[in-house]
């Protein structure tokens, strides 16, 4: 579904990712692991078109690498970005409405809103509250719900567990597992390898802008490389 080949990502003059290739198949959950500064977020930014990149980004057989950010989103990519980036000056409901910005049909939009509110009851309770007043975990749920409002074909999740208490982390991963069983295609960026590998069908390990290992979650989970990269112990 999503194919990336020889992707180089740049922040100004700095090259953060040096030619990686990866593949996300329809209905699968693929995990992208790696330590701080490995280039995971840069890769996500290149897929959405926020960061400048060279190489191929193909989505459903179409080359997106020259398309604008907006066109890529319209093609069916949605992202819950690093740091959540909810619109804290808007209410919870307004955040969700913006998530479905491309949905023209008001009835469908209302249906989706109700659907996600039923799945995230805590958000439903706070629907008219300013999003800035939510707790970290609630904000993360809002960020994911906002992305889902777009009815994406693929969901990019950048470190959804970052900075959350273990109990909340479990909730978030349960949610992702649930989405997966509903057939959502997911690219999950995580530092929390144990949890991510439990979910993922296939995983890539990044370090210093390169993919250093990949394989099924089981294979990679057993590899020494993973432990070495993530803990810094060689």
């Amino acid at each position: 579904m999503l194919t990336i080949q020889d992707l180089h990502v740049f922040h100004g003059p700095i090259e953060a990712v040096h030619g990686i290739s990866l593949e996300v198949e329809q209905g699968k959950c693929i995990s992208l692991l790696g330590p701080n500064g490995a280039g995971k977020t840069s890769t996500i930014s290149a897929i959405t078109g926020i960061a400048r990149s060279t190489g191929l980004v193909r989505f459903e057989g179409r080359d997106l690498s020259r398309d604008s950010v907006e066109a890529r989103i319209a093609a069916g990519i949605a992202v819950s970005p690093e740091g959540r980036r909810i619109f804290s000056n808007l209410t919870v409901l307004e955040n969700l409405t913006l998530g479905a910005a491309l949905q023209k049909d008001a009835a469908e939009k209302a249906k989706d809103t109700d659907h996600w509110f039923s799945l995230f009851p805590i958000l439903a309770e706070r629907r008219d509250q300013s999003a800035g007043t939510l707790s970290g975990g609630e904000q993360q749920m809002l960020a994911i719900a906002r992305a889902l409002m777009a009815r994406p074909k693929i969901l990019l999740l950048d470190e959804p567990s970052l900075g959350l208490a273990p109990k909340i982390v479990r909730q978030i991963f349960d949610l992702i597992a649930d989405l997966k069983t509903r057939g959502m295609t997911i690219l999950l960026v995580e530092q929390n390898a144990t949890q991510a590998l439990k979910l993922a069908d296939y995983a890539y390990l990044m370090s210093s802008g390169r993919i250093v290992a990949h394989g099924t979650a089981d294979d990679l989970g057993k590899s020494d490389k993973l432990m070495a990269e993530l803990t810094g112990v060689a």
């Binding site: 959405t48 926020i50 989103i73 980036r85 804290s88 000056n89 913006l98 777009a150």
Partner: protein, 298 residues
Amino acid sequence: MEYIVQQVLNALSFGAEYALLALGLAIVFSIMGLVNFAHGEIIAVGGYTMVAFASLAIGNPMIVMVGAVLAAMLASLTLERVAFRPVRKADPTTGLLTAFGVSIVLQNLFLLFVSPRPIAVTSLYFLDWSIEIAGIRLASLQVFETLTTIIVIIALMLFLRRTVLGLAVRAASLDFEMVRLTGIRANRVFAIAFLISGLLAGLACIFIMARRGSVDPHLGFEPVLKAFVACVVGGFGSLPGAVLGGFLLGAVEVAMLVMLPQSLGGMTDAFVFMIVAMILIWRPDGILSPAVEKGDKL
């Protein structure tokens, strides 16, 4: 009694004009950090459009007013495309200086191609007559101006709360990139902000022209300077701040006009700015600074 009501209305109509202009400045600033020094020239475009209608012998006031507003909106949109797009991502100082340069170019274009001297426009005099409400005589123009502004503020609020594009404009003031990541085209958000800004300037233009009856290349300078000050007082980039600042400035100005002796008439603005300076000593970021809102992005 009559005198008090008249002065209150006076203050409201002054404030309304500043609020309209300040809102137009704030909405553009909130999404792209641009201090639009060329806002005054948008007003002048409206004024010269009225001149053009007059020279075509079109006197229908509806056509003149709608035409002027549309011209202001078009001018605002054009400036965004031609002048401000290259500095969209630049720092505020670069944007500010660009706008300053654009303002100089436009003023001198009016000078070169129209005239450095004021040109009379009489088609809007009909807006100003004396009306009597509950036994109190008031200037109709001031009533119109105040009412229009209130209606416009309500309409703008509804737009910003009820429509996706309106939500996007509000969200963009916090995190423009994230707005793009919801699939809304950045160009549309910029276009709508400049269109609103032009619309507000065009409306203000109608009232300014109805009062002054003539247009010259510097038509917009003084009201926009006041609007800028209103924005600074209210907190630059905050929309409620712009409205608050505008009405506050109107009230201070009328208070000065009433209280200062005749012999100091030419110095009203100096006294108004002095009071503003005192407010800024108290709150350097303005009364409703959006800085607090921006902070929780981190």
